[in-house]
């Protein structure tokens, strides 16, 4: 079984049912199936074949979903890049994974072609491909092995170079199969898709729906954090299974009036992942809806490897709900500093092993054996895990993984910057990425110039929320920039 068969199979049994609803239109399974074949034919004409990579760069849309399926049908792997990502970053990804082709919107094909040069085909992401009607007698169904690459998700890397997490068909299907079973999903379900397509939360939304002939409803990128619109979306799209980062739910509760209306009757599961969800909001949700509340956990490298269904006793605690126990066929444990396995009451690094663990990072040694997540957990008396924190300089801002070094490397690439430190100020929904920069002598740098510079190099979520300039940085006794002092200082000093 491979990932692309999911839509093919759904088209046979659920051809007339709704598959995708987005701003650019809706697709039934039959339409999605036929259009994916049509796009696959045009990709094949560009020379894409089994084992290749294809970068898809656009805002989420039915056309993007179609293109993802088209790439898989050729036995190739797709590499999603968010529509808001700058051209420079997309070119870096395309070169890094040696992409055969990039599909993007018409206005971007020319400039990207110029910067990538020959060797990579740049073509328009077709909104309504011609010849979809011929699809039935021109099926494209290249074989793929379970361990072949299905997609690459690029994440923030500590040295400034993005890391491509390589996910095989087996990896993805292990998670999707678990999710569908756990949710007892069926053709009448309506999944929300809040996360961008380059974020692994979207894998559940898309393939969870496709696996059972259900529909997936895409939240437009511009509305992803518009509180009232999100709350309305839940009602108007009659969502039955919602999945997002906690930040989105917090906004809907605090500013979108989510709890002011009765919960939608059909809503039966609310899933969240990516960062700790303040328990007060979980309590509020539990009092508002009878839907199941599920906390999912896992870095992109393992997808979801633990989960926890919220129980009444969890709401009595004063800390976020546990991340729970292993799922997706994985084994997970907490590892002590001496390498031993933690018992109840102990803290250690969470390690995952099993079918969802990635093949490795693109261009590096394959991942062998268990994957250490870098997350510290505490083992509870019943064997469940509580999330404690990170081991390193990786932070989460609105659910996105941010390697501070990645952002600092971009700032230091500016000719007038001599020193740059990026810190996180605030927590939860209030968390802000603040860049503090020391300009080179004789240079006058404003926040907008720094922002312009970063926005041309980094995906949107890595561009700092605030830019400050200083004549010098506070130092620790060993001479390093004192991040803690800086963060504390920025937390109490309002913007000038």
């Amino acid at each position: 079984m491979t990932l692309h068969r999911i839509v093919r199979d759904a088209a046979k049994t659920h051809g007339d049912r709704l598959a995708v609803a987005a701003d650019d239109g809706t697709l039934t399974y039959r339409e999605l199936d036929a259009r994916a074949d049509a796009v696959a034919r045009s990709l094949r004409a560009l020379g894409v074949s089994r084992g290749d990579r294809v970068v898809l760069w656009a805002d989420k849309s039915a056309a993007m979903i179609t293109a993802m399926q088209a790439v898989l049908r050729l036995g190739a792997a797709y590499v999603p890049a968010d529509g808001s990502a700058p051209e420079h970053r997309v070119a870096v990804l395309a070169r890094d994974c040696a992409a055969k082709a990039v599909l993007t919107t018409r206005d971007r094909t020319g400039p990207l072609r110029a910067s990538l040069g020959t060797g990579v085909s740049v073509a328009e992401l077709a909104t309504s491909p011609d010849g979809a009607q011929e699809a039935a007698d021109a099926r494209i169904d290249e074989p793929a092995a379970p361990d072949d690459l299905a997609y690459i998700l690029y994440t923030s890397g500590s040295t400034g170079a993005p890391k491509g997490v390589c996910i095989s068909h087996r990896n993805a299907l292990a998670f999707v199969g678990w999710a569908v079973d756990e949710l007892a999903a069926g053709p009448d379900d309506r999944f929300s898709n809040h996360a961008p397509l380059n974020f692994d939360l979207s894998v559940l939304d898309l393939y969870g729906a496709f696996a059972v002939g259900a529909s997936v409803h895409l939240v437009a990128a511009e509305l992803a954090y518009a509180p009232a619109q999100l709350a309305e979306f839940l009602h108007s799209e009659q969502i039955t299974i919602w999945y997002s980062v906690p930040s989105a739910l917090t906004l809907m509760i605090r500013e979108g009036g989510l709890l002011d209306r009765p919960a939608p009757r059909r809503l039966r599961a609310v899933l969240f992942a990516g960062e700790p969800f303040p328990v007060t909001h979980v309590r509020a949700l539990a009092g508002w809806t009878r839907a199941r509340l599920l906390n999912l956990y896992g870095p992109t490298e393992t997808n979801v490897c633990t989960f926890h269904e919220v129980r009444p006793t969890d709401l009595e605690r004063d800390r976020p709900v546990p991340i729970g126990v292993a799922c997706s066929g994985d084994q997970v444990w907490a590892r002590r500093a001496d390498g031993g396995v933690c018992g109840p009451g102990e803290e250690g690094e969470l390690v995952a092993d099993g079918p969802t663990v990635m093949r490795g990072y693109w261009g590096r040694e394959p991942q062998r054996g268990p994957y250490p997540t870098g997350d510290v957990v505490r083992v509870l008396d019943d064997g469940r895990f509580d999330y404690v924190g990170r081991r390193d300089h990786m932070v989460k801002v609105r659910g996105h993984r941010v390697e501070l070094g990645d952002v600092e490397a971009a700032l230091l690439a500016h000719p007038a910057v001599t020193e740059a430190v990026v810190v996180v100020v605030g927590s939860g929904i209030e968390a802000r990425l603040v860049a503090v920069v020391v300009p080179a002598h004789g240079h006058d740098l404003g926040p907008l110039e720094l922002r312009r510079h970063c926005a041309a190099r980094l995906p949107r979520y890595l561009v700092a929320d605030e830019f400050r300039t200083r004549s010098h940085l506070p130092r620790t006794r060993n001479g390093k920039a004192d991040r803690a002092a800086l963060a504390g200082d920025l937390a109490v000093t309002p913007a000038p």
Partner: protein
């Protein structure tokens, strides 16, 4: 809605002031221009766009509908101002 002495209209000024104060640390170097690409450079994001629209509602009495929350109408200060004026004209506010 035009201030004849400065040549800058109230709508543009309200939007500019808000973005300077809330998104650009007061814009100490005066870098913000009517055509500064706000979305492409991430000056406006989905979080502070909501705050800006609330501010426009409070200060100018114009409610920008969700259909106007898009890349074209939020592109820069000039585009936002023209969208606000268009909405105001449609609704007669």
């Amino acid at each position: 809605m035009t201030d004849a002495t400065t040549g800058t209209d109230t709508v543009t000024q309200t939007i500019t002031d808000f973005i300077r104060q809330r998104c650009l640390d007061g814009d100490p170097k005066g870098e913000l221009k009517p055509d500064t690409p706000l979305l492409a450079w991430g000056v406006l994001n989905s979080l502070n766009t909501v705050l800006l629209l609330n501010h426009i509602h409070d200060e100018l009495g114009v409610t920008v509908p969700p259909s106007r929350i898009n890349a074209r109408d939020l592109k820069n200060v000039r585009a936002i101002a023209s969208a606000v004026r268009a909405v105001a004209a449609e609704t007669g506010s």
